[in-house]
Symmetry: C2
Subunit: 462 residues, 2 copies
């Protein structure tokens, strides 16, 4: 398949400029202010699929933002692969920490990306990664090398819980039927250490509100005499972990699947340098659950993090006030076999129980999803492994990911198919952070590798 | 002094409309956006003093906002009273909790103010209360009843620490020399239970910053493996109180002046209904240091309250981020004989010590002031007591206030004179809160009472 590499080389400048153009659209799903940009982005995805050679391309309206669907069926007898991706992005704030505007893509070399990286919100998560699949389709059609049927489903609510998607999947099982699902929305260890994510953590995301007095109070007149909602909230959050940094919610660990010593030893083989890790984050020490390594803490262990907190006076200068309300956004990463609905309930019950007299507490579940694991003996994994070997010259390392793609377990439940997570970004690409970027080399390598997956998968199951 | 009451009755409509006009100026000292309004407000104060009959009125420039000074010297041999007040106000946020715009004064009756109250930011704190003195001067000049010399010093930085004022006082000891200082910036128990604040709490106000990783991180990729600055901050703040709600900063209570059983018994005589207190705040329980009553907790005991906290994603929807930084504004109310500089140091040392490896902590002192007490046998208090008796028909109850007016102790140190805190507002007037208001009855009663203070004070010390 030499033509694959040569096609990428011939068209790489256009592949890059096409990606830059969709990165300019601020498709932030969390903020209604960007709803028009979301519509524009769905339009852009539709056109990109048509241009690549998809058929039956449609913008499917939902309760929320539309899902873009397209397919290329060459022979119903052949295997069918469903490609999933999302065109929405995380909010770009804090804006002042970006070196260049988040929606004005810039190409700059970095230490890990000497050939240059594209800096923009969504460059890696997930516009750059789903667009690799669009270009891979174009490549196979132009080269007459598409070996199987393809379906594309690109949604616009991944960063806010994929609510409309679940309904869409349940209502379109037939249309979406497939033999394997392919997603590029994860990372790999390094450009010379390809890896495939075989497990994902689940998620439970909640918002909490603590209400004390019915109005803001003067801290001189009332200070010390009434429960201060902010002080109480900090106490309640602090109580969610014990002295060993284990989560203290009763029942939280009951269903956690513990890995065997062998599995942990296997995981420990993945290259990891704690010194580099700390240096990259500019921290003097790591921090987490006693008895587990850093790689275990962020992959096979559940966690609880406050993602946002606010209350009282946060403007310039000083205001001596006791706020009436304090708020926090809290997310828990879950592992097999924790059930996110059950965990959300356990959290809610425990958090309400933590509230002392003098305050009222409200817990609002935002969204969640189940953890997921792909066995490495699955033909989908085998095909992916051979594809990487063909383009990277070495097989990928199977890796448990710390992130969550809740819909992966939804797919398994509704469509009865496994998902292969072929991610080409790096953990250091700052997704969800200021200065998110995606390596040019990674982008092109992805476009080059994906066609091999189709080839080997069709050979294995066809 | 019958003419006093009749003058107030004759001119009350004008007294009210004049106050409304200065309440329309958004003189928020904490926010630079309002600097022009601050200048306009200083102008308005200058004109009000001139109109009332002050001489040598000047707008004294400072490093910060100007101080308005004016005087009426009738005979150097007579006693001199220095009236202090402030023309700046607290920030009005949260705006959405105001029933009417904070800088568009409205007059509405309330349960405690059947004759109507003026709703506006600064209505009570402190525009309404310092303006009573301006009108009392006008009254005495028009009636030829001014018995002593008067000096006015109205500043614009009380709500942000009175930094420029301290310098001004130190540089103008001669100009500001006086026999007693009069301030109306406190409250009284009830319209039928007049009281005078004989003690104030000190204050130490700090801002803390906790820094973890050098950038915001994806909570899936890093969650559980690095110290989350928000989780750490909540833990550190929670650790500032022990299980008895005592402040756990080493040495914090060392210099606290404990009241005798007799003094506490005397305090306990002030009318107080816990049921009404809780109902007014819509709370099911009070909360505070074990072993003390509500009135003791907010007057004779030191406290620590978080006035604001922020970090991470606080916008709409959900963002799975681990913030690089988390912040809080924290204030401590102090009692005799705690030294605010020493307490600020103790806090800083302790807070830094609470920080675990993996984060860096910065503590920035904002401002502070010492606690203060006026003995009730002081001629200034005696004169005030007789003045209240003349207009309220009963002597005032001496009361320890929970608030802080740091400059009161500065005055004592620099000008060697005591301060009398003749406040006419009510604790329920919501100062520093949405819907701040000041009773019309209280405003007029203040204007009527103040002249009696000058009369009796001159008789006692003249």
């Amino acid at each position: 398949m030499e033509h694959t590499k040569s096609y990428v080389d011939t068209h790489k400048d256009r592949f890059i400029s096409e990606l830059l153009s969709i990165l300019k659209i601020p498709s932030v799903s969390a903020d209604p202010a960007f709803s028009q940009d979301m519509e524009n982005m769905a339009e852009a995805v539709k056109n990109a699929l048509l241009q690549a050679g998809c058929e039956q391309v449609e913008i499917c309206e939902t309760q929320g933002y539309p899902i873009v669907y397209g397919e290329k069926i060459i022979d119903p007898a052949l295997p069918t692969v469903l490609v999933y991706g999302h065109y929405d992005v995380q909010p770009p704030d804090p804006l002042d920490l970006w070196d260049s505007p988040p929606f004005e893509p810039q190409i700059k070399p970095t230490g890990l990306h000497p050939e240059g990286a594209i800096f923009a919100r969504g460059a890696s998560d997930d516009k750059g990664q789903f667009y690799m699949h669009v270009k891979a389709l174009e490549l196979m059609i132009q080269n007459n090398s598409l070996p199987c049927n393809l379906k594309f489903m690109i949604e616009g609510e991944e960063e806010v819980g994929s609510e409309s998607l679940s309904a869409f999947v349940k209502e379109n099982r037939e249309k979406l039927s497939n033999d394997i699902i392919l997603i590029s929305d994860t990372g790999m260890i390094a450009n010379d250490v390809p890896s495939i994510t075989t497990g994902l953590r689940g998620l439970s995301y909640v918002e909490v509100e603590v209400t004390g007095p019915n109005r803001d109070l003067h801290s001189g007149l009332y200070g010390g005499a009434v429960a201060n909602p902010i002080n109480i909230l900090t106490k309640m959050i602090a109580n969610l972990h014990d002295e060993n940094n284990r989560i203290s919610i009763p029942g939280f660990y009951d269903k956690v699947a513990e890995l065997s010593t062998e599995e942990r030893a296997e995981m420990a083989k993945a290259p990891f340098d704690l010194g580099e890790y700390k240096a990259a984050l500019d921290i003097d020490a790591v921090y987490g659950e006693d008895g587990y390594t850093t790689n275990e803490r962020n992959a096979i262990r559940p966690t609880l993090d406050v993602n946002g907190i606010w209350g009282g006076y946060i403007g310039e200068g000083a205001k001596t006030v006791i706020a009436s309300k304090a708020y926090a956004k809290i997310s828990m990463r879950l592992v097999p076999d924790q059930d996110w609905n059950e965990i959300t309930e356990l959290f809610t019950r425990h958090f309400e129980a933590l509230a002392p007299d003098g305050v009222r507490v409200k817990v609002t579940p935002h969204h969640g999803g189940q953890a997921y694991v792909t066995p490495i003996n699955h033909p989908g994994y085998q095909a992916a492994s051979k594809a990487y070997e063909a383009t990277f010259g070495k097989p990928p390392v199977p890796q448990r990911g710390g992130g969550s793609i809740p819909i992966v377990s939804l797919f398994e439940a509704e469509l009865q198919s496994k998902t292969i997570l072929m991610g080409f970004g790096l953990d250091s690409d700052a997704i969800h952070s200021p200065n998110e970027h995606f390596g040019i080399w990674n982008y092109l390598k992805g476009i080059e590798t994906i066609p091999y997956f189709y080839k080997y998968f069709t050979e294995l199951v066809g």
